[in-house]
Amino acid sequence: MLWMMAFFSIFSVLAETTSTDEKIVGVFYMKPIFGHVHQSSVRTSASLTTIQCAHPVKVIETSKVQAGPEWAYVQVADYKGFVLKEYLSEKRPDCFQGQYPKFFDSLNLDLAELYYWGRLYDHYVQGDTRVK
């Protein structure tokens, strides 16, 4: 009996730590036309879900997950994963599909195309030149 009580008390303490340690930093929005919530903070890691431009994303801070400088640890619906910081915006962006909805709908993109479109942004090496 004592053993069981000890087990439950430890379990409840752990549960409490899990719930209190996570802090929502803020709600951000997806910038590219499509993007992925990744399983790990690697560009080619598996996708948990595909989200489209302007989709709200909760950025979470927790001591249990180290996201790395390029990545944000996020929650989208029931999924918790990683999104590249450069693809998140504080303000709701003007998305292509929002500006030209009827044109965009007419393309009838299938699931594979949505997936690949999100993947495309994981593989781009982007840059811009500046005056020094």
């Binding site: 036309i33 080619t44 292509f96 500006q99 030209y100 909805p101 009827k102 044109f103 007419s106 393309l107 195309e113 690949y116 479109w117 993947r119 495309l120 593989h123 781009y124 090496v125 982007q126 840059g127 811009d128 030149t129 500046r130 005056v131 020094k132």
Partner: protein
Amino acid sequence: MITTYKGIPVLSKLMMMTLLLSATAHAQDSEKLQEEKELELVNFTHIKKVLQQDGLSQEAKQKVKQVKILKKEQKVMEGSRFFYPPESELWGFVSEYWLVKNAQILGWDFNKPDYGLETSFKSMMEKLGFYQKKFKILLLNTPTVVRTSLPGSDHEIILLLSVPFIRSLDLTKLEISLLLLEDFLRMEAGYFKKQVSTDKMKKLAGANFETTKIDPSMVQELLANYDKQVNITGYTFQQQFEITKKMDAFLKSSPELWNTYFKMLSKIDRFIKSNAQYKDYVKLYPSPEMQVKWLSPDEKVL
């Protein structure tokens, strides 16, 4: 104490007067037809002055005006949903759509090491004085498409490059950057857009299709032209000559870069002549051999 007037209590007198007045009014009312009474209810003219004094009719007019404006705005908003993207946005969108449609053929969704291309290409561009230029590099895991550049949105350029090709040639970061620069200049020269664009695209880009039916063939035609340009047409001798001369002019100020470019072209020339897998390269980019000749100093006849 009860207040009296001429011996009659004031309260009783008031009650009597009220009764008398209501009886008179009732008598007048009963003289009117039912229809007349109904008309009075419908006809508001006798209360118009009261309404005007209250400013209600003015407010009603303003409300009608507001509704008109809102309806007009709603119509404009609804109409704005039926636009084709303008050319500046359409190019980038179609380029990405083409990349998505050809994802399996181009094989860009693969694990690769970080070649540090962003830094090396950027620093070379800046060294040569190309400022405020945006680029995206996409590495391909196929020998089928060796290299090309596509127009991106907002003056951006998408550069594609085959990893099997750069590995087979064992190209350095600098050499890869020079290849990318060539493709960058091709895109800036406008050859791709000129060869791929259609009359339909020029006509429909930025147009509204609220009252007409959307034409899906515009995008389909563009995608077909992308295929043709990347896999079959490529660039002409004249276009290649112009680009080679541009490279020559830009690299002249940096002998190290010029020499690397010259050696790289010779390397590509030897490689594609000996490798059947890349036999189509010369048809698309004619030709490294000629490029070397164009760059070589004229031989003086003594």
